[in-house]
């Protein structure tokens, strides 16, 4: 199952949009944070986890999803949010803590909720697993279409909640897919320090479900594997586990000095940046012309600019609104 030309364009567009978005965020993040870097300052305060380099996973999976499908993501959610179609204006505004943000500034970058496209993320490792399984259960019980995908990092696979949710999804045969983004690191802890086996796809055997590892941060291969898993889920054949090798081109969070990385690792990763690679491939395959790609890139940049502008120009959250929306209206 290879992506069609349109799908390839969609994938490239979303990868570029995500990258541009993060570049914009990264730049703004440093406003007000120099000369002394203090996370609390500037238009975007707090922790910031960028997903540069990990875009292939988001687009390879989300290319198969519609707004009615459910996605839960992690503390590193931008690429997935964008690929899932989260409203970029409101998302940017949320990251800025504005009134017009997805949740009026209550959530922030680690708590992006867009009910229109069934997207949510959260800040505790493996936390999205249960809710995604529950959404899958809900669809099955209601007889409504839709699958649920939980994205997690490779570090999350050692968390107890991950295991429980996998077993639950399997024993109830739910339309659920767990996608592991293996960027090799959990903050400063290397995968081999944390996990007793090399490929988490092998853990699928513990649940009697298909497991597959996709090497090389390759959007096409991810597209193919995700397509199979999602089709399986839609057909009522139950959950799957995918582990995708990917690259974290940024630090764990902004401000991370990354001294824990072996020398040269970062440079090697930059050489494998998936965006120029996909561009080359699109051209080599004749799947897109230079002009088409330029247009996509320009449109993506414009889209991001508009979202950032919207966020910048929106009103700050109202302080006293902090006390509202604790309970459902």
């Amino acid at each position: 199952m290879s992506p069609t030309r349109e799908e390839q364009h969609w994938m490239y567009r979303n990868m570029v949009t995500s990258r541009r978005f993060e570049e914009a965020i990264a730049k703004i993040y440093f406003e007000g944070k120099s000369p002394a870097f203090n996370m609390a300052n500037g238009p975007i305060p707090g922790e910031m986890h960028l997903s540069d380099g990990q875009e292939p996973v988001a687009v390879g999976v989300c290319a198969h999803l519609t707004p009615e499908d459910v996605v839960t993501a992690t503390h590193r959610p931008h690429h997935q949010a964008i690929a899932k179609g989260v409203d970029l204006d409101k998302m940017a505004a949320e990251i800025f803590g504005k009134k017009t943000g997805l949740s009026g500034g209550r959530g922030g970058h680690m708590h992006l909720f867009d009910d229109d496209v069934n997207f949510a993320c959260s800040g505790i490792i493996a936390q999205g697993m249960g809710p995604a399984v529950g959404a899958a259960l809900s669809r099955k019980m209601q007889g409504k279409p839709g699958v649920a995908v939980a994205f997690v990092g490779e570090g999350a696979v050692n968390q107890g909640g991950w295991h429980e949710a996998m077993n639950l999804a399997a024993v109830w045969n739910l339309p659920f897919i767990c996608v592991v983004e293996d960027n090799g690191w959990g903050i400063s802890v290397a995968k081999k320090t944390a996990s007793s086996i090399a490929s988490h796809a092998d853990r699928a055997a513990a649940y009697g479900i298909p497991g597959k590892r996709i090497e090389g941060n390759d959007p096409y291969a991810i597209f193919e594997a995700a397509g199979e898993a999602i089709a399986r889920a839609r057909a009522g054949e139950g959950p799957s586990l995918l582990e995708c090798e990917t690259y974290r081109l940024a630090g764990h969070f902004m401000g991370d000095a990354e001294a824990y990385r072996p020398k040269g690792e970062k440079d090697a990763l930059f050489e494998k940046d998936p965006i120029p690679k996909m561009r080359e491939r699109l051209l080599a395959d004749g799947a897109a012309s230079e002009a088409e790609l330029d247009t996509i890139e320009e449109e993506s940049a414009a889209r991001v600019d508009a979202a950032i502008k919207f966020a910048r120009e929106s009103d700050d959250a109202a302080p006293e609104d902090a006390l509202t929306r604790v309970f459902a209206a």
Partner: protein, 339 residues
């Protein structure tokens, strides 16, 4: 009501009845938990449900609290109204992240764009020598953290009304039922909890306390089992010419401070009875809520009769030594007079 019209139910049956009635009218309600299917719940609160609604809507789960409570959150956000059971509140430690970081916060994190209409039922309380991991109340633990409503019925009438209200609420409700009130013969049961329960569905307002006995000399404030201890103490005190008012909190969150404050304003004295650990919990909160509001109403220092700050011991004599009881409440009154 004449005796013959009475329809006495245990709390267990009242909870199951409320759930069944709601499930009949609302297809989005379903139940998940350990041993809530064929067994009907270790504490009887789901008895009969699987026979009527089947295993699709009454789901026995693996021993995976993080997964199934997390799943309830996801299902609730997706249009369902799950009722989940945490068999003993003592087990909250294996799954509290799903409870307090997801269930309780997702409405807020979403700015109100998602609803989390779910009920988390959990058994509380000791007194039957079940040891230190099966006997706690943990009222303070749940009530301290924002985003969940918390109720704790003391009798079957309230239990049914709260259960129906909880299932209809668009926010998460933690429903803490006390094993000693549940009406399971094998646990012993407080007779006063088994009361008349109307057949038709009804709701109790979450967040409203009840003055269950009027009095003028002292306010005894409690919830769950403590209410029965308070009522017994009030009887003893009455024989001594002391008129005790008993306030049943019913809900811990929202906390009905007005009713508490009004009662103490009237009586001038406060005894809080709490089966949960004493420090940093319910007893302190009630006292603070009264005193921060107005100390001039107090004729004596407030008192607490609470579980001491020790793990719950197994041996009967030790556990009983620690638990609140009517005698300790009466003694608290006596100390108040002596002071």
């Amino acid at each position: 009501m004449t005796k013959s019209n009475e329809r006495k139910l245990t709390i267990a049956r009242a909870m199951a009845e409320a759930t069944a009635q709601e499930m009949r009218i609302d297809p989005s309600v379903f139940v998940m938990g350990e041993d809530i299917g064929p067994l009907g719940g270790v504490y009887g609160n789901t008895r009969g449900l699987i026979e009527e609604f089947g295993a699709e809507r009454i789901r026995d789960t693996p021993i995976s609290e993080t997964a199934f409570i997390g799943a309830a959150v996801g299902a609730a956000q997706d249009g369902m109204r799950p009722v989940v059971e945490l068999m003993f509140v003592d087990f909250f430690g294996v799954c509290f992240d799903a409870i307090y970081n997801l269930m309780a916060k997702n409405i807020y994190f979403s700015g109100g764009n998602v609803k989390v209409p779910m009920v988390l039922m959990t058994s509380t309380g000791g007194g039957y020598s079940d040891g230190g991991q099966h006997s706690q109340c943990l009222y303070g633990t749940f009530a301290h953290l924002p985003g969940m409503k918390v109720v704790a019925p003391s009798n079957a009438y309230d239990a049914k009304g709260l259960m129906t209200a909880a299932m209809r609420d668009d926010s998460p409700v933690v429903y803490m039922y006390h094993k000693g009130l549940q009406g399971m013969g094998w646990l012993g049961t407080e007779a006063g909890a088994t009361v008349h329960v109307p057949e038709e569905p009804y709701t109790l307002e979450i967040g409203k306390a009840k003055v269950v006995r009027e009095g003028k000399d002292v306010s005894i404030v409690s919830c769950g089992m403590g209410v029965h201890n308070a009522l017994k103490a009030a009887k003893t005190l009455e024989a001594q010419g002391v008129s005790a008012e008993v306030v049943d909190l019913v809900s811990l969150v929202p906390l009905d401070r007005d009713t508490i404050r009004a009662s103490v304003a009237k009586t001038g004295r406060l005894i809080v009875v709490d089966e949960d650990y004493m420090s940093y919990g319910l007893s302190g909160e009630i006292i603070a809520s009264v005193t921060e509001h107005d100390i001039s109403v107090l004729k004596a220092a407030p008192k607490r009769v609470a579980f001491p700050d020790v793990p719950i011991p197994f041996a009967r004599v030790m556990e009983q030594f620690c638990l609140p009881n009517p005698d300790k409440i009466v003694a608290a009154w006596d100390e108040m007079q002596a002071a």
